[in-house]
Every structure is written in C-alpha cells, then in structure tokens.
C-alpha cells in the first residue's frame, strides 16, 4: 500500500506545533520555522510524485471509515487544483513564520507560532478532503486558530474583529451544515455516503431541493471568500490581525471559499449552478467594483488591502461562474496568484508598519527616499496587485476577462473598469506613502534587513516567474478545472469567425 502522503503532510505541522509547545519559548521560532520548512519539503516531494499526465484525477487517495453509523469517512485525495492550493499554503506558512519573528515578542510567540502551524494542518486537510462531512469539519475547525490569532494577538479592536469573523463564519457554516446533511439524505446513504465522489452526479428529487442545497454551500463559500454583501467582516479582521495572520487569512483561508465553489458547488449541483450563474456573475461584478471603490476610500493600509482582495475575489468568482474553460482556469490561477500578491503586499506593509508603528496611510510619506529597497518591494507587490503584465496576476486576470466575455460580455466589460480602479488604489497609496519629501517620522529607518529580503524575494520571484512562464501551473490545473466544469455540461461559446490554424506560428 502507498504511504499516506496527505495525512503525513497534514500531520507534520501539527507535530511541529506540539514540539513548539513542548520546548522552551526561546526555541519556538526555530522549531516553528523548521517544521514549516519540513512540511514544505514534503509538499515538494508530493509534487514530484504527482502524476501530471493525470492531473485531472484524484491522486494519493486515502479512505477510512470514520463514523460508520452516519456513513462519514476520512477520505483524502488531490487533483491538480487541490495540489496547487496545498503548495500555496506550504509556501506561505514559512514566510509567515519568518514575518512573525518580530510581530510577537517573548513567550507569547510560542502559542502564536503553534496556532499558525495548527492552522496549516487544517488548511492542508480542507484542500485534500474528499468527504463532504470531513470538509465541513475542517472548514469549521480552521476558525478556531484564526479566532485566537486575531482575538489574542491583534490590534486594539481585536476582540470585536475576532468575534465578528467568528459569527459570520459560523453563520455561513451553519447553513452549509444543514445542506451537508440534507445532501446525505438525498444521496445514496450508507457507508461512504458523504464521499464527494458518490455525491457527484445525483439526481435530485426536485429542482428546488437542488437549488436550496446549492445555496447552502454557496452561502458559506460566499461569506468565506468573501463577496459583497457579506464581506464586512474581512476589513475588520484584516485590519486587526497581525500581518502574517492576515496573509494566511486572505491568501489561503478565504480561497477555501472559491475552492469550494469550484470543487463542490459545480460538480454536486450542476443544474442549480447553471441556474444561479447569471445572478452570481452580477454579484461578482458588484464585488469587483465595490471592493475597488472602497479600497480607494480607505485611510487604513490593512483595510485597504482587504478591500482590494474583495475586488479580486469578485474576479475569481466571476471566472468560476462564467463556466468557460478559459475563465475557470483563469480563476484557479487567480487563486494562486492572489495568494502570492496579497502575501507580498501584507508582508511588506507589515515591515513598514513595524517601523512607523501605524497603519494609517497619512502617517507615512517619502519612504522611497530613505528606504528605497522597502519602497521598491512595496511597489512591486502593488504592481502585482494591479495585475501588471509580466506579473503572474496579469495572466490570471486576463484569462478570467477574456474567458468571461463570450458568456457574459457586459459583466466582463464592467469588470474591466475594476482594472482601471486597481491602478488608482495602488498608485494613490504608493504616492501617499512612499513619495514626497521625507517626513520626520519616516526618516532614519533601516532599509530592508536580510530576514525581510528572504521573505520578499521568493514571492516576487514567483510572481514574475509565473508571469513569464505560467505553463507549468496551467498544465496542472486545467484538467481538474475542466472536470469540475464539465459536470455542469456547459460548452465554450464558439468564435463566430474562427481564425485559420497557423502551423508553426502561434495561434
């Protein structure tokens, strides 16, 4: 029998967390970093062993009966999409541990780092879960470490933000739980009755049932992603969370929402998906524009980044529910790229905030003059956020737009306005913070340290590298995306006047 790779990878950070708790506080950082790096190494090994020729199939499958009386199984497995999300998590956690080096001082760091590692375990699990109930449990379990990470280690209004986050998430989760159980009732039942594979392709009793169940799942994912109008918990949570927690929250955790839409909503409820898609596309466009406009109006740096993410989640959701091969592929790539770009933006913002001791944009000015490297990193992260061509974020954004247009022309054109607004919210912020004369409170700073360079460099390298050559990731995610989409049985709109095939040259 094969080794239980996914369980092992999920267990590694948990073991790390136990080790962090067991060892003296002075070793916490080193142990946490080591544990996250070992996990990353294991994930790299997983990628190497992943059979890319069958990237659309679930691999490394494990299945044990967990609560037999209710048909609940412990089932794991990843296709190209899940694998990519696990890689994203495993890459970001070590960087966050490094970033947390100075965020939390002394003995408090021990629990903080342990919680981050516990969170990683849940993240790996949720992306690998092949049992709907297991997915739900992990989906809810992720809330616990995040609740404490924000509520204990956050800013002045941390408790309010943490509770708001919890309430919204619990509400979404509750609705989803009802749907999960009802789905079981609708399904074949018995042992393995919650397995995603056995719930795919069900014939529902009535149209209404399918739509209600779809709504139950979608609502939870829309809160998590988050979409307008259930987004208001994110700016509060991101503003109060320490930057490294904000990275995991927005960069990875929220992706569970869009990941769930793609890998659960689409295959499980194909007809309801088709029925709801136009309405969801409208909500997605509203999110794109609303998030961007709100970002322009923010005076708090962390809230600003949170609103840019709401805008970007709008793009991701739009691409998923446009249901063309190009748009859904773009959305999956967008999830990865947004994770990288937001991480870069939050982390560099954290470096600036560590120096100035403020999140208020107006407290900065002239940073470029004194600390050119830091300002340069901030600008690069910003350019990735505004999807500058050459950066990977551009590839995903253009694929979403180009792929959406044939299905929903108006939505794609309206979302393009978000691209213009992105230039405004990023460059306006850079102008306010980094240009102009050096100010009293922004002078005499130390430029980027070695530790900070180690955090930023891999992110920038990935953003540029995948922008120039996105093919390796695309090749892995396309088959899985296609499988999810073809369950819905939608076909790409065909071009009116197809161009003749061009042998040799590019098509």
């Amino acid at each position: 029998m094969d080794l239980p790779w996914l369980t092992g990878i999920g267990a590694l950070p948990l073991l790390g967390a136990l080790a962090v708790r067991a060892l003296p506080a002075s070793r916490s950082r080193a142990v946490a970093l080591l544990s996250s790096l070992v996990t990353l190494g294991a994930v790299v090994a997983l990628v190497v062993r992943f059979d890319t020729t069958r990237a659309g199939d679930y691999q490394f499958e494990e299945r044990y009966s967990w609560i037999p009386s209710f048909g609940i199984s412990y089932a794991l497995g990843v296709d190209g999409v899940g694998l990519t999300m696990i890689v994203l998590s495993a890459v970001l956690v070590p960087l966050c541990v490094l970033a947390a080096w100075r965020e939390v001082e002394g003995a408090r760091a021990r629990n903080y780092l342990a919680l981050i590692l516990v969170l990683e375990t849940f993240m790996v699990g949720v992306f690998a879960a092949r049992d709907v109930f297991l997915f739900y449990v992990l989906f809810e379990a992720m809330l616990i470490p995040v609740y404490f990470l924000i509520g204990v280690y956050g800013g002045p209004h941390r408790r309010y933000a943490a509770v708001k986050f919890l309430i919204y998430s619990l509400l979404g989760g509750l609705v989803m739980l009802v749907a999960v159980i009802a789905l079981y009732v609708e399904g074949p039942g018995g042992s393995g009755g919650f397995l995603t594979s056995r719930l795919t392709g069900l014939t529902f009793g009535s149209e209404v049932t399918e739509r209600l169940l779809f709504f139950g799942f979608f609502f939870a994912f829309a809160v998590k992603a988050p979409m307008w109008p259930v987004h208001t918990w994110l700016p509060d949570a991101a503003a109060e969370a320490p930057p490294s927690v904000a990275v995991l929250l927005v960069g990875v955790l929220d992706k569970v929402g869009t990941f769930g839409m793609l890998t659960l909503c689409l295959p499980l409820f194909p007809d309801a998906t088709k029925w709801a898609a136009p309405g969801i596309a409208v909500l997605a466009v509203v999110s794109v524009l609303y998030g961007a406009l709100l970002a322009i109006g923010q005076s708090d740096l962390m809230r600003l980044i949170a609103y840019t993410s709401i805008s970007h989640f709008g793009f991701i959701v739009l691409g998923i529910f446009a249901l063309t091969s190009t748009s859904t592929t773009g959305s999956v790539l967008y999830m990865v790229n947004h994770g990288l770009s937001t991480a870069a933006l939050f982390l560099v913002a954290g470096m600036l905030m560590a120096r100035r001791g403020s999140q208020r944009i107006e407290d900065y000015g002239g940073v470029q003059r004194g600390t050119p490297l830091l300002a340069g990193a901030f600008l690069l992260a910003g350019l990735a956020t505004l999807a500058l061509p050459g950066m990977s974020t551009f590839v995903s954004e253009i694929l979403v737009l180009v792929g959406t247009f044939p299905r929903y022309p108006a939505a794609a054109v309206a979302a393009t306005v978000g691209v213009v607004l992105a230039a405004l919210y990023i460059l306006l912020t850079y102008q306010r913070m980094c240009t102009g004369p050096v100010r009293e409170h922004t002078s005499g700073w130390r430029d980027m340290s070695f530790r900070e360079a180690v955090i930023v460099a891999p992110l920038i390298a990935a953003l540029v590298g995948l922008g120039v050559y996105p093919k390796p990731v695309l090749d892995v995610v396309v088959p899985g995306t296609d499988r999810a989409r073809t369950q819905v049985q939608t076909w790409d709109p065909q071009p009116e006047v197809p161009a003749p095939q061009q042998p040799g040259g590019s098509r």
């Binding site: 739980l177 079981y184 923010q298 790539l333 737009l401 792929g403 691209v419 042998p503 040799g504 590019s506």
Partner: protein
C-alpha cells in the same frame, strides 16, 4: 531557460509555413532576435539587483546594452532586406505561454518591415539618449537606478513592437507605461512630480482597458488574439464587431499616444528628467498608438467608421496640441504640446488607410529624430540655465551655446517643414494625403486637409516662437545665470540627431525607399484623388509656414519679450491652461468619483454592515443581544448556533433513520 536552444531555425516560420532553405541565410539574426529584448532587460536587472557596488560603472553598462540591441536590430534590417519582398514577414516562435482551455497562446516575435523599422529607431535614438544621459544625470545620486529604468524601457518598447500577438504586445505596452511612470516620478520627492507620474499611469490604464476589451472581443469573434490569426479572419467578420474592436483599439492608442480625449497626462509628464522626455515622451513610446493602428490595418480597413474616428481624433489632436503650444512659456511643455500635435498628424495619416501608412510611419521616424534632438537641446539649455524652463528668462543664447543653437535650428527647420529638411518630406505628404480622404469626395478631404494645413501654419508659429525666444532677441537671463555649452557627451548625440533631422527625410522619402519598404503592409491601394493638386497643397503649406515663422520673428525676435506674460485673449488664457482639460476631467470624473467613493465608504460602514448585522440579529432572534458582539460574549451566540445545528442535524438524521 535557454531560449536559443528551444528556437532552432526550423521553427522559423514565415506567413504560417515553415521556412525552407531560403531562411538559412538570415536565420542567425532572426533566431537571435529575442536577444534584442533580453539584453536591455538583463541590463536593467543587473543594475537594480547589483546595488551600490555597480554605482561606479553601472551607467556604462546601461549605455552598452541599447547599443548592442541596435547592432542586432541593424543586422536584422539587413537580413530582412535580403529576402524577396513577399517573404519579409517572419515569425519566431519562443515558447508556449498560456495554454488555458480554449485560449491557447504562444509567445513569439513578428519580424517584418514595420517592426524592424521601429526596432531600429528605438535602439538607435535610445542608445544616443543613453549616452547623453551619462552626462546629464552625472550629478544625480540615483543615476544607476535611472539607467536601470531606461534599459527597462528599451526592452519593453522592443517587446511592444516585436510581439506577434496583441496580448504579448500588451505586456510591452504596459511595460513602457511602467517605465514611463517610474521615470516621470524619478524625482518623486517633489509631490507634483509624483502626482504627474500617477496621472500618466492611470490615464494610460483607461486606454489600456480599451485594449483589454478589444482583446476580449477578438477572442470571442476569432478565438485568438495573435496577429496572424486575427488578420487572417478579419475579412470574414461583420463590420459592426470590427468597428467596435477598432474603436477599442483606438482608445488604447489614445491613452498611450496622448490623443484627444486622453491627452491630459503628457504635459505633466514633462516632470521627468529631460532625456526621458526625449526618448519616451517624444521619440518612441508615445508613438506606439500609431504603431497599433497601422499594425491593426486589416481590422481598420474593414471598418470605415472606426477609420473615420481615427482621422477625426488625429485632426482634433493636431490642432489641440498646436493651439496649446502657442501659449505655453515652459520650453518642455511647448515641446510636449508639439509632440501631441505631430502624433495627431501621424494618427490622421494612419486613419486614412494604406494610402497613409507609409507616411505615418515615415513621419514617426523623422519626428523621432528631430523631436528627440530638440528635447536634448532643451535639456542642454536647461543645463546651462540652472534648470530653468522659462522661455521668458532665456533669449540670445545663440552666442553662448553654438552647438545647441545649430542643432536645435536643424530640428526647428525640420518640424516646420522647411523644404529639404526631414519634416518636409513626411509631413507635407500627410497634408496631401488628408486632401484625398474618403476617396477625395464629400466633406472629409476639405475638413481634414484644412485642419492639417492650418496645423502646419500653427506649428511654424509656435516652434519659431520657441526658437526665437530661446536663442534670439534680448538676453533676459536671471542675474545668477551663467549659460554655457554642454559637455561633449551631450552635444555629440545632439549633432547626430540633427544630422537625421536634416537628411533622413530626403534619404527615405523622395527616393521612394521607405514606401517600397513598407509596401508589404500597405499593399495595393487605389489611385489617390486629392481635391487639390499636390503643387497647390505644397504651395499653400509653405505660404502658411512662412507666415507663421515671420509672425513669430516679429513678435519674439525683433521686438522685446515681456518678462511676465501679458494677460492675453480668452483663447490664449484657455490654451495656457491646456484648453481646460484638467478642469473638465476634474468636473466630469474626479469629483463625482470622489463623492461616490465617500458615499460608499459611509454606506459600507453604516449601511451594508448594519443591514447584515440587523438581518443576522433578526434571523437569530437575538436583536436584544446585539451588544454582546462588541463585548465579546460570543459564547452565548455560539452556543445557540450549536444548539440549532444539533437540532437540525439530529432531526434530519432521525427522519432518515
């Protein structure tokens, strides 16, 4: 990744078929053409990542890479000229770029007469300006970073013109926008300069959104965004969709080339160091819009309405820029307005269809030389006058800055279209072509020909005004000014560009060299039917040019120039304020946008959040307990949720069992 290894000559294709042995002779230059882009990009990367240790020699590395690219471009030109005329369009496949479902796009380069003409211009003028900048930026503490950005610009611009698909072109298109942003804001410790940089990028993004929409429509219509695919299928598409694509492409062109109504950023862009204004905001980047329209010929030719709009935009902008140029007292802003106006001429010509393509690009080349030369001259004057840009504080500089004076005079004579100089051969033909618009029938030839003619007179006036106010008349220097000639590193590029201003037009225009070179793009076109004979157009143009120049001489050389600008007429006052372009944008876009944003921030904090909270409270029957949210007593709520969950799930399971 070794691109050279993955792109053997066998992959070299021309017109969609794999080239046979005929390709072998020039294959080395073509397969290596990606180096053209890679070398300056490498230069930029080394200079940025190298840090302080490259300060001492970094600028020389920065100078080296565009010269190397120029050598490659020249070799490419020679190699392309070696092919028979019909085979001068060659594609170099680079790598599979975006295999994403239905959308599959490879990265590749298109080497044809148009792209190579551009590549030679960009690398040659670029390399000269790099040399100039070594001296111009000598005292700047960030000179290395400056050269890194300049190298990055050259790489992006080359990618823009050499790309073989709209999407890859777009990468270069926004890349030059980024370079422009970084260089306009190079001295961003001045808040105005930082604002100018952001304005340029954001206005350009509006245009770029047009380009994005154009690509979306192309994909929906043709299933591809590669040049070869789109152009092959364009003929079979409906006129409506082609018009829409054409107008969206034009929006992109307007942003990049500062054409009406997206012209407002160019004047402010003069905040950048003068070599930047010469290279990016005069000679190369701002002409990318013209490139786009000419490149997209197969689309525009099948969409007459879009073509008409292109011509109209060109005509409006050429007059807009000329009027503004007459009123400005800042030497760089006059030149900027002039650039806008001259690109208006190119745009007009490009909109006329195949008749105008060769002249549009020829004017683009000659303009690249004479305008870059004059910008470098302006930099030399500023260098000598303690960075002052005020025309009213100059005067009589011809005696102390002989080289600058003579080279600037060459550019001046070229732009006003003095017979024999470069501009004469390119601009005059555009005016002639304008008089044959729409097949020489109806109102179009008279309106557009008239606009082009009037523009020529205005150009002569404002450029002569600038020339006389700077180099002739009385000395109005501030007391602490000690004007002197610039060092050799600056004057030599000026001399070379001046030679081009004198002779390039005569070498390429009347000899027919350039129209022959461009003929694969222009194709066969119908006989022209101008409403006025060519000799009449030339005579009228010359009369207007002389009138403009003489008027300027009388007012700005022969009589005293007041140190403070007189109030002037309403038109003068409007022109000084760029015909109120900023006021209009502010009233129409910025203010409403600000109100909308503020309103939404308010609504989001109070409204959306409030409604969701209220709903949640209502649904949970917890209205009275709302205060717990703030005090952190989450347990009671969580407990009630849990109870609810257990009740529901228990009920469902019981029902099942």
């Amino acid at each position: 990744m070794n691109l050279l290894a993955t792109t053997p000559a066998a992959l070299l294709a021309q017109d969609g078929t794999v080239a046979g042995s005929a390709a072998a002779s020039g294959a080395i230059q073509e397969t290596g053409s990606w180096l053209l882009i890679a070398l300056p990009l490498l230069g930029a990367a080394l200079l940025l990542l190298g840090g302080r240790r490259t300060n001492r020699w970094g600028h020389w590395l920065g100078v080296l890479t565009p010269w190397a690219s120029f050598a490659l471009a020249a070799a490419l030109l020679v190699s392309l000229a070696g092919y028979p005329e019909g085979e001068r369009s060659r594609t170099l496949h680079l790598f599979g770029w975006m295999p994403a479902g239905q959308f599959r796009l490879d990265a590749g380069l298109l080497i044809d007469p148009l792209s190579v003409a551009f590549a030679v211009l960009v690398t040659f003028v670029g390399a000269l300006i790099h040399v100039y900048a070594v001296a111009y930026m000598a005292a700047d503490r960030d000179r290395r970073r400056f050269f890194a950005y300049l190298n990055f610009f050259v790489a992006s611009m080359l990618l823009l013109v050499l790309a073989d698909s709209y999407l890859l072109m777009y990468v270069g298109w926004e890349g030059v926008g980024l370079a422009s942003y970084l260089l306009i804001g190079f001295w961003n410790h001045n808040p105005d300069y930082a604002a100018a940089a952001k304005k340029a990028f954001v206005v350009n993004r509006v245009g770029d959104a047009g380009l994005t929409v154009a690509m979306m429509m192309m994909f929906a219509t043709f299933g591809t965004v590669s040049f070869a695919g789109v152009f092959a299928a364009a003929g079979s598409a409906g006129e409506g969709v082609l018009t829409a694509i054409g107008l969206m492409l034009l929006l992109g062109a307007c942003g990049k080339s500062a054409q009406f109504p997206l012209q407002s950023w160019l004047g402010d862009a003069m905040a950048g160091p003068t070599p930047v204004s010469a290279l990016i905001h005069a000679a190369t980047m701002v002409t990318a819009g013209v490139y786009l329209v000419v490149r997209s010929g197969p689309i525009f030719e099948a969409a007459p309405t879009a073509q008409l709009v292109v011509v109209a935009v060109g005509a409006i902008t050429l007059l807009f820029g000329a009027i503004v140029g007459c009123a400005k007292d800042d030497i760089k802003k006059v030149l900027a307005a002039s650039t806008m106006s001259q690109i208006g001429y190119m745009m007009l010509a490009a909109g006329l269809g195949p008749v105008g393509y060769a002249f549009a690009i020829l004017h683009l080349l000659t303009h690249g030389f004479f305008k870059a030369g004059m910008f470098l001259g302006a930099g030399s004057v500023m260098h000598g006058m303690g960075d002052s840009v005020e025309l009213r504080s100059y005067g009589g500089l011809n005696a102390v800055m002989k080289v600058t004076w003579v080279t600037f005079a060459c550019g001046w004579l070229a732009i006003i279209g003095f017979p024999g100089f470069s501009g004469f051969w390119s601009k005059d033909r555009i005016i002639e072509a304008a008089f044959s618009a729409d097949g020489g029938q109806g109102w179009q030839p008279w309106v557009f020909g008239g606009a082009a003619l009037l523009g020529a007179g205005l150009t002569a006036f404002y450029m002569s005004r600038l020339f006389f106010m700077t180099f002739h008349g009385t000395r109005r220097w501030p007391e602490d000014a000690h004007p002197h000639e610039a060092p050799r590193l600056m004057t030599i590029p000026m001399v070379v560009l001046a030679l081009g201003s004198v002779g390039l037009g005569a070498a390429l225009g009347p000899t027919g060299l350039f129209t022959d070179w461009m003929s694969p793009l222009a194709g066969e076109h119908a006989e022209e039917h101008p409403v006025l004979p060519a000799w009449a157009v030339t005579t009228l143009t010359l009369l207007l040019v002389v009138a403009g120049a003489v008027l300027a001489h009388r007012r700005y050389a022969a009589s005293e120039v007041p140190a403070v600008a007189p109030t002037g007429t309403a038109l003068t006052r409007a022109a000084r304020r760029d015909l109120y372009q900023d006021a209009v944008n502010e009233a129409a876009l910025m203010r409403p946008g600000q109100y909308l944003t503020r309103l939404l921030v308010f609504v989001d904090n109070r409204g959306v959040d409030g409604v969701v909270r209220g709903l949640a409270a209502l649904v949970g029957g917890l209205g009275g307990r709302l205060k717990y949210w703030n005090t952190g007593y989450v347990r009671s709520y969580a407990a009630s949720v849990l109870v609810g969950v257990l009740a529901v799930s228990g009920g469902m399971l019981l029902f099942r069992i």
